[in-house]
Amino acid sequence: MLPSPERGSMSRADPATPLLQARGLGMDFGNGPVLDGIDVDLRPGKMVGLIGPNGAGKTTLLSLLMGLLLASTGEVWVAGRRVSALSRRGLARIMALVPQDLEIGFAFRVREVVAMGRYPYLGRFQVAGATDLAAIDKAMALTGVDVLADRTIDTLSGGERQRVLVARAIAQQTPVVLLDEVTANLDLSHQLEVLELAAHMAAEGRLVVAAIHDLTMASRYCDRLLLLADGRLQVDGPGHAVLTPAHLRRYFGVDARIDDAPGHSGLIITPRLPRTAD
């Protein structure tokens, strides 16, 4: 059963049952497995960080979760349904994506980009109604892009553009939001803004899954971390359990000092390259 397929409210999300599940998930593009045997249960109301070195399979996993790729083995379930059995439109009412810094070379206005979040709810010839406009307004106000409403997207800075894309995901009103390296090209204040918004979405009851490189930020904002390396889910747990010197040494190839951060629940990770034997 779809969670309120009409308008996608999160009110019925039950924190006890997994919203997004992968079972035996594997992907092989023809040169050996990129992902292998991934099993996870993700519950609503949480922000889950997807970490791992480059080439670990994070992007592939996100694509499989979104149903953009067809898994070689295993299956993804969302809200009790197979992702492969849902239409793109049905999926877009359950899952939204905030992409990595996206260059948009076309002069859409900010409001129009946010309004794209309502496409999954509109028929081919249907005009956006009051509910849609309200969702768009609310998302723009929440992300602070309402002041940019009439600017064109190609004139915005990277941080502004990223907030617009977060606003679009919020307007989509899905129980699941995927973030793909959304802070990769942002300066510190914009990273914090976007991650605070992500945490806010999780606090509202959504499931937020964020692929993220910055381990300090990951430990600070995520309730749970999935460490992916060599195409396998190596460690799964809260930040303190996942981000240990041993794991960083083994999967990231760095020696790291890990301290409790003063003032918040995260960790401060100070990596350095390992000294080689000879």
Partner: protein
């Protein structure tokens, strides 16, 4: 989003200009026709009397005959060919996220030409009215999917590869057309009709041509107008479009079929007329922004306007000898295309 007054006025302007140019297209020509003649002709439509019935023609003034048999079909065919090519270009540019895509640049138009040339060569076009457009459609479609397939690797379609594949396919299509023509020249009648047809233009177009292109234009436009949101979302990339619920594969398939249909219909009635599909959507985008809900219908209007105006200008400048219409659209469109290329390169290197 409702149409703002500003946008309404753009539509009114384009529509008004189109009507004016079409009016001029009917009035201007070797035989002088006045507005009064036109009004008189419009209230005594030729088809009610039959085109060859002696009684019918006897009741009509020669001006009415010229208007109904020569000028009106020519202007209407031109308008619809321009609209079909411009919409086709606008859709392709949206699908490929690139303002340099167009039916002629991607080799689709020459594919349609090759199909049509084959239909003439095998004598099918002379006996079956649907043979030429059908072959043109098949040629356009095969070329489109070949170019797209060659340029796509792992779900990505790099623009440079796409343009190169289009150029290669276009060259192949032109070479094959020349080959067929060379073989056909042994039979002068067939060869002549191929040459005559290949040059393109609106000379001697009849109601048959109007009736041939009209349903394809209506169908193509109707289908394309069902996809403005999908095209808008695709401008942000395929993953982005998919994430807001666009079925990218299906949308692309449907819209590629639409562009092949529109291009083939245009080529079938007017031969090779280049650059309308490239230039018109680009100009319109400067006025309306990238939204396809405005871009597609306004491209149709503007494409019609530009082609009828080009045909009119041609008739006024070169009264005696007929210069093919494709020559003037290419002569004006090619420099514009170069300008776009250079501008885009300039932006990239900055």
């Amino acid at each position: 989003m409702p149409l703002t007054e500003e946008r309404q006025s753009v539509f009114l302007l384009a529509g008004g200009l189109l009507l004016l140019v079409m009016l001029a297209g009917v009035l201007v020509g070797p035989a002088a026709i006045s507005l009064a003649d036109l009004l008189r002709a419009l209230v005594q439509p030729l088809w009610l009397f039959g085109t060859d019935g002696a009684t019918g023609t006897a009741q009509l003034s020669w001006q009415s005959v010229v208007i109904w048999q020569v000028r009106l079909p020519r202007v209407l065919t031109g308008a619809m060919v321009g609209a079909a090519l411009a919409v086709s270009g606008a859709v392709l540019q949206g699908l490929f996220r690139n303002p340099l895509a167009s039916p002629s640049v991607l080799g689709v138009a020459s594919g349609a030409s090759l199909g049509a040339v084959l239909a003439i060569f095998f004598g099918l076009a002379a006996t079956q009215i649907w043979a030429l457009p059908l072959f043109a459609f098949i040629g356009a479609l095969l070329t489109l999917f070949a170019v797209y397939g060659i340029a796509t690797r792992g779900g990505h379609t790099p623009v440079a590869t796409l343009l190169l594949a289009g150029i290669a396919a276009g060259a192949f299509n032109v070479a094959m057309s020349s080959f067929v023509l060379a073989v056909a020249l042994e039979n002068w009648e067939v060869g002549k009709s191929i040459v005559y047809w290949t040059m393109g233009g609106l000379e001697g177009r009849t109601w048959d041509h109007v009736l041939l292109i009209a349903p394809f234009l209506a169908l193509g436009l109707a289908v394309a107008m069902a996809y403005p949101r999908d095209l808008d979302a695709l401008l942000l990339g395929e993953t982005q479009a998919a994430s807001v619920g666009v079925d990218v594969v299906r949308t692309r398939l449907v819209l590629l079929l639409v562009t092949a249909l529109l291009t083939a219909a245009a080529v079938a009635v007017a031969g090779g007329i280049g650059f309308i599909g490239l230039v018109v959507p680009h100009i319109v985008r400067l006025l309306t922004g990238p939204h396809h809900r405005l871009l597609l219908p306004l491209s149709a209007l503007t494409g019609a306007l530009v082609l009828v105006a080009a045909d009119l200008a041609l008739r006024m400048m070169f009264k005696a000898n007929d210069i093919p219409l494709g020559v003037i659209t290419a002569a004006l469109g090619a420099p514009f295309f170069l300008f776009l290329l250079l501008r885009q390169r300039g932006l990239v290197s900055l």
